[in-house]
């Protein structure tokens, strides 16, 4: 049996669609109630909060997972990133009120001690540190885009797909930190013990992508 961890929320439907394309059974997933563990044929699906998905894989609870590259980089847990599925595309950006735009065009010293609200404190730390800029990172778990309006932060680092939420909150994108997409990842142990099954899925994924 192959255990697959899937993130709840935004990308779940896209993930289920991908599983369909990979010829994995998804009836139980599409018709699920409140169940978080669903067994279908030779697969067991675990539905988890996106930030918890890498931990299921790292500790060997799940053999395989679909997870956003943003989550992978934020959590940094040891696992094997098998492939970029090309699904769930979006990007992590720095955004803020229009008047702040000049700071991001000017010398990096302008950015010193900006307050940045984000749900990605590790990515934010690495991003600004690599540029030699010290910022104050405010770790939030939701409604990040409200932070500048409420005076909680100067700007935000957040994920953006269409940009509608940012526009609705009068925020402008200053920089793209990294593109994001849904990745197929496996546990280090499962790569050794279940390579046949995993490589079969990888071949199917390559066929879909080409």
């Amino acid at each position: 049996m192959l255990t697959v961890a899937l993130p709840t929320g935004r990308v779940l439907n896209e993930g289920i669609h991908l599983l369909d394309q990979l010829e994995m059974p998804t009836k139980g997933l599409t018709e699920r109630g409140r169940e978080l563990v669903i067994e279908e044929g030779p697969y067991r699906y675990i539905l988890a909060k996106p930030m918890d998905v890498p931990l299921h894989v790292t500790y060997g609870v799940a053999d395989l997972a679909l997870l956003g590259s943003d989550v992978m980089w934020e959590i940094g847990a040891p696992l094997i990133e098998l492939a970029d599925t090309g699904k769930g595309k979006c990007r992590v950006v720095i955004a803020g009120p229009e008047f702040l735009a000049e700071k991001f065009i000017g010398h990096k010293s302008e950015l010193m001690w900006l307050r940045v609200a984000t749900k990605y404190p590790n990515i934010a730390d690495r991003y600004f540190s690599s540029r030699g800029v010290q910022v104050e990172i405010i770790h939030m778990h939701g409604s990040i885009e409200l932070a500048p309006r409420l005076g909680l932060s100067d700007c935000i680092m957040d994920i953006v797909q269409t940009g509608n939420t940012l526009r609705a909150n009068h925020l402008k994108i200053f920089e793209t930190v990294t593109p994001v997409s849904l990745r197929l990842a496996a546990s280090i142990k499962s790569v050794q013990t279940k390579w046949q099954e995993l490589s079969g899925l990888l071949d199917k994924l390559r066929a879909i992508r080409s």
């Binding site: 790292t58 060997g60 094997i80 990133e81 492939a83 970029d84 499962s190 013990t193 390579w195 490589s199």
Partner: protein, 396 residues
């Protein structure tokens, strides 16, 4: 309530007992194969450690100054200390040299880990030019796993020279990026690099096979077809054949995408896993590069495994059957003499000096002990069934 510094831990209770039993069995096994115990200093001079440690470990060093104002680091790995000791305390004629150790290591944790401290058990074999050394070390590793009850463990073997050979003619920058992608475990990044067009099609085709070179010994045939010099996998083939002869065939897997720092490791490398955990329990390999840093030409191989993890998957995770002996007002000398007679029969004992019979039974229950002995009555009570037996009969 007193607390420890963040990232530190005291290990006590049942886990500590399990760790001690695993440590004791593993070290005994290594002793019986001629490995001498080594207790390394907790501090290493930064000036000697820095250049010799793999860069991945350098980033994780915990540095400090001694009261003598010497910049140091807490040992992040025992291999370096062991090699340094062996290279400076023994003459070349005394080789091969064998060391084993079980001690704490200290390094900045990598998520999701949070502890600065860990426990390593390991062994090093220096100065034997041949495949026997690799097989001996791997055998000891598998044997020690069996002894402590981690019989579902399996070994994944690779060889860094395979990738070195495949990357020989490739642009150094792109070769480094490819190795880095494999070290990070990102096959997605590895394949993207191959598609950049900076490698000719034939080489890219060969390199694209690397992550898939996983399986049993037969995978070596396919791997050799990718190489100009088919001899570079000879060592690995010999080790695999020897281990198969010894009955370990089903517990060995090959993965030629397994890489470690290429300037540190120099031949076969390996990781050990249990099917009950998602990550490696430890690993090792041949590190002739480190040896040459000490001016010694020759072969060195070692392994180090996480004692805490091994203990948590070992047969010692269950509370071991043990006995509480209630003194019940008898003379101290008599109680200890009788307790010793019971202990030498192979039982773990705890003497209860309380005058209260009820308190003693209550404590035995709390401890989860298997038997409670009432010395004045020469009676043994099975704590699970409540049945009583005569002490002399029970001891026999």
């Amino acid at each position: 309530m007193s607390r420890l510094p963040r990232g530190c831990t005291n290990v006590g209770g049942h886990l500590a007992s399990s760790m001690q039993r695993c440590r004791s069995e593993m070290i005994s096994l290594m002793h019986s194969y001629g490995y001498q115990t080594f207790w390394p200093s907790a501090l290493q001079l930064l000036e000697t450690a820095w250049d010799r440690l793999p860069s991945s470990l350098r980033k994780r060093l915990i540095t400090l100054n001694t009261p003598f104002a010497e910049p140091c680091c807490l040992r992040a790995d025992i291999t370096l200390a062991a090699v340094s000791y062996l290279s400076s305390h023994f003459s070349p004629e005394e080789r091969p040299l064998r060391l084993c150790y079980a001690d704490r290591i200290y390094k900045t944790p990598v998520r999701p880990d949070t502890y600065l401290e860990g426990f390593q058990v390991g062994a090093e074999l220096l100065g034997w030019e041949g495949d026997g050394a690799d097989t001996e070390l791997i055998f000891l590793l598998l044997q020690s796993m069996d002894m402590v009850g981690v019989e579902d463990s399996f070994l994944v073997l690779g060889d860094v020279t395979f990738l070195q050979d495949l990357l020989f003619d490739i642009d150094k920058e792109i070769a480094k990026a490819l190795v880095s992608a494999l070290e990070k475990g990102s096959y997605a990044e590895y394949y993207s690099l191959l598609k950049l067009g900076r490698i000719n099609t034939a080489q890219a085709e060969k390199l694209s096979r690397v992550p898939s070179l996983k399986g049993n010994m037969e995978i070596l045939d396919e791997a050799e077809r990718l190489l100009d010099d088919r001899g570079s996998l000879r060592s690995l083939r010999k080790i695999l054949s020897s281990l198969a002869e010894m009955g370990f065939k089903d517990r060995i897997k090959v993965d030629l995408s397994l890489v470690r720092e290429l300037n540190y490791y120099s031949g076969p490398i390996f990781d050990i896993y249990t099917r009950r955990h998602g990550r490696s329990l430890g690993g090792g390999g041949r590190y002739d590069g480190l040896l040459s840093g000490y001016g010694i030409l020759g072969q060195a191989i070692g392994f180090a495994i996480d004692l805490e993890l091994i203990a948590s998957f070992s047969k010692y995770t269950e509370v071991e059957p043990s006995v509480m002996i209630w003194a019940g007002g008898l003379s101290t000398g008599d109680v200890i003499a009788q307790a010793e007679e019971i202990r030498v029969k192979g039982h773990s004992i705890e003497i209860s000096w309380t005058p209260s019979r009820e308190d003693s039974i209550h404590l035995a229950k709390m401890r989860g002990l298997t038997f409670w002995i009432e010395l004045p009555e020469s009676k043994v009570i099975d704590m699970n069934t409540g049945l009583a037996t005569n002490l002399a009969k029970w001891v026999e």
